[in-house]
């Protein structure tokens, strides 16, 4: 789906192979959502080094803080998620306190399969109740799958009790039309493989509310004419050209390969996602984290008809 449709959801989960820029895109989508007037929160999950610190200027706490009027950020860590989860599930404050004060109980909750993931997802669900738009920087592809897949296994694992009840609610939310997935890829074979593989696994497990969106980061479309490419090839194959001359030929070949890779990646992704990926040129996503988010946000904002000057925070 287009950027506009993606942001029509209440919950946007962004995933991708490590190093593709998924955090940058998640943050940029949150900025654009806020610019559209939606009360938006950008969240990271259980990360030791929250990127939001480098992007928005301060390490985000568990409870969302306002960056601008409409744009909030938070970091969903285990301690906070556990408290929020227990507070929601246990009828008495006294019991929550008793659980939190008991080391043994904490250890078991930490180690028991599924509890962590359900607590994280539960917190996301809670934020969806409080905000117009929740944008989550999900773990990298395979880990994002495992996290969402817990909702399925939780129904199997927990035959009764509060976890089961919450898992059923969450499964409904995460599988609904309001929940959307976005993948971030770059034009490299292994990255595209992993993106497609994760997409297919998620589709098979019925994890999509709507059709997911794919962003192709660092995309450069082919720009050499056939004649130019022919000449480049002749120069490349001429072994008499060496030293500095060869360096120029190599530079041209390097860019042409990147461009070809974009075209190939885009075609493969289109085959799986049913529409071409949203392409963003390398220049947009360059620089330090803050610049990169601003650059991508400006690029994506244009697609929903918002000009740079109307973006908050930038």
């Amino acid at each position: 789906m287009s950027v506009r449709e993606l942001l029509d959801g209440r919950l946007v989960m962004v995933t991708g192979k490590g190093g593709t820029g998924k955090t940058t895109y998640a943050a940029a989508l949150a900025v654009v959502g806020a610019a559209q007037g939606q009360r938006t929160v950008f969240c990271e999950i259980d990360t030791q080094r929250p990127s939001a610190a480098a992007i928005f200027g301060e390490p985000p706490p568990f409870e969302p803080v306002a960056i601008t009027d409409k744009l909030h950020v938070c970091n969903i860590h285990w301690d906070g998620a556990l408290v929020a989860y227990l507070t929601r599930m246990l009828p008495l404050r006294r019991l929550v306190k008793a659980v939190l004060e008991n080391q043994v109980v904490q250890r078991v909750l930490d180690a028991a399969p599924g509890t962590r993931e359900v607590a994280f997802l539960s917190r996301i669900g809670q934020l969806v109740e409080q905000y117009d738009l929740v944008v989550v920087d999900m773990p990298a592809s395979g880990h994002a799958f495992s996290m969402l897949d817990i909702l399925r296994s939780a129904l199997d694992l927990f035959q009764s009790g509060p976890v089961r009840k919450r898992a059923i609610e969450l499964k409904e939310l995460f599988g609904s039309e309001a929940a959307r997935l976005a993948f971030v890829a770059i034009p490299e074979e292994m990255v595209v493989n992993e993106t497609i593989e994760t997409h297919d696994r998620m589709q098979k497990a019925d994890m999509f509310g709507g059709n997911p969106t794919c962003f192709l980061n660092r995309a450069t479309l082919p720009s050499l004419s056939d004649d130019e490419r022919t000449l480049l090839k002749r120069l490349w194959e001429n072994e008499a050209i060496d030293g500095i001359g060869r360096e120029y030929v190599r530079a041209g070949l390097w860019e042409d390969r990147l461009e070809q890779a974009t075209a190939e990646s885009s075609e493969r992704l289109e085959g799986v996602f049913g529409e071409p990926p949203v392409m963003v040129p390398p220049a947009a996503a360059g620089g330090v984290p803050r610049q990169a988010v601003a650059g991508v946000a400006v690029h994506l904002a244009r697609q929903v008809g918002i000009a740079r000057r109307d973006l908050p925070w930038i």
């Binding site: 192979k17 490590g18 190093g19 227990l86 599930m89 246990l90 019991l95 008793a98 659980v99 008991n102 080391q103 043994v104 109980v105 250890r107 078991v108 909750l109 180690a111 028991a112 399969p113 599924g114 990298a140 880990h143 817990i150 296994s153 199997d156 694992l157 927990f158 035959q159 009764s160 009790g161 509060p162 976890v163 089961r164 490299e188 074979e189 292994m190 990255v191 720009s223 050499l224 004419s225 004649d227 130019e228 022919t230 000449l231 480049l232 002749r234 120069l235 001429n238 050209i241 500095i244 001359g245 360096e247 120029y248 030929v249 190599r250 530079a251 041209g252 070949l253 390097w254 860019e255």
Partner: protein
């Protein structure tokens, strides 16, 4: 530092680093080099790029070693073997191996909790890698073993994974959970059974009584595996600490990979594990700073244009000038980035950059070329 001599005196190389930095290629190149130098080598790998796997004749996750046909490379006098790891099947094998009897084994393998945990248990793939490694080293069949570790999020997860399972089983809290009525402690019956009682009630409230009973059952079975895991853990750690074992940190000139590499170096140092060196892959080289494509290539380009018109020549030259400028910028940025890891890794063995090859590394010849770029006589010592 002569890297060939370094390799000759090493019997186990463990390649660590984040994903996408060419770790698999480096592992394969090290293995091939060993074979070229006449040794019998096994490379344990996780997920090689399809084309490389195909051209080496590695076709499936068989969990068995396969000998690679080296006839295309007559200078290779030794043998090269490779094995692709498949985490799922082996975790069940581990359970089977460490189970005291078939009954316990079957109970665990069929447990609902185990099925979920085997998939999501943090580090299970890493655990498998160390398992297989141990088996292969101790088979005594190979002169050199190269381990290509799975890309991990948190530094040396794969090293810790056997320990984590041991810790998990060793936690006294699970003893309490499992045996709330155990009265034979120094502190007497009331305290312990009291703690167990409260724990059970609270956990029951949070997770439901049925789950808790399942979990308890699972843990009591799993606990019987403790000795098996413990022994294996100690043996693997001893292997990593051997004098002829060397860790090689692999990275590429990207922000995140350089950070991870620095972190790995710290962790290896902190654990006093043998740091063999740092390999930086995929470096773009670009020396000229004039960006004058016309001057560098104008004459040969016109000579070779043949049927192509002057406009094409001009446009291509202009384009090459721009591409060269961008490549130069990239190369400078990369240089600054790798400088960080180099400064950071002082005392951490050798440092060697391997330039990005013009063609994809997908056969023995190109793999050997990577090896030639890596195994130099005068590598920098950190």
């Amino acid at each position: 530092m002569d890297l060939n001599a370094w390799l000759d005196s090493t019997n186990l190389v463990v390649c660590v680093g984040s994903g996408g930095v060419g770790k698999t290629t480096t592992s394969a190149a090290i293995g091939l080099r060993g074979a070229v130098r006449g040794r019998k080598v096994m490379v344990l790998t996780i997920d090689p790029a399809k084309r490389l796997a195909n051209s080496l004749g590695l076709k499936r996750f068989s969990g068995e070693g396969q000998q690679i046909d080296l006839s295309a490379l007559p200078e290779a006098k030794g043998e090269l073997w490779a094995m692709m790891l498949d985490s799922k099947s082996t975790f069940d094998n581990v359970i089977a191996r460490v189970s005291p009897n078939e009954e316990v084994r079957d109970r665990i393998l069929n447990n609902r909790l185990y099925r979920v945990m085997a998939d999501t248990f943090a580090g299970s793939q890493e655990y498998m890698a160390t398992e297989k490694l141990y088996d292969i080293v101790h088979s005594g069949e190979f002169d050199l073993v190269v381990l290509d570790t799975p890309p991990v999020k948190n530094a040396l997860d794969f090293l810790e994974s056997p320990g984590r399972i041991v810790d998990f089983l060793d936690e006294r809290v699970f003893g309490w959970l499992l045996e709330p009525e155990d009265s034979r402690g120094l502190f007497g019956m009331r305290i312990i059974s009291g703690a167990g009682g409260v724990v059970f009630k609270l956990l029951g409230l949070v997770m439901g009584a049925e789950f808790l009973n399942d979990f308890k059952e699972f843990l009591s079975d799993f606990k019987e595996l403790y000795d098996g895991f413990r022994q294996r853990h100690d043996a693997v750690m001893a292997l990593f600490n051997r004098e002829d074992t060397q860790f090689v940190t692999v990275c590429a000139p990207t922000e995140s990979s350089v950070d991870v590499a620095s972190f790995f170096q710290d962790e290896l140092g902190a654990r006093e594990l043998p740091r063999g060196g740092v390999v930086v892959n995929q470096i773009h080289r670009c020396e000229d700073a004039s960006h004058d494509a016309e001057g560098a290539l104008g004459a040969p380009a016109r000579e070779m244009a043949g049927d192509l018109d002057e406009k094409t020549v001009k446009r291509l030259l202009a384009r090459l000038g721009m591409a060269h400028r961008r490549l130069r910028e990239l190369s400078e940025a990369e240089h600054a980035m790798v400088e960080r890891v180099r400064r950071h890794a002082r005392g951490g063995g050798f440092y060697q950059e391997v330039p990005r090859l013009d063609d994809e590394v997908n056969d023995l010849k190109s793999l050997n070329l990577v090896g030639e770029n890596l195994f130099v006589e005068n590598a920098e010592e950190l």
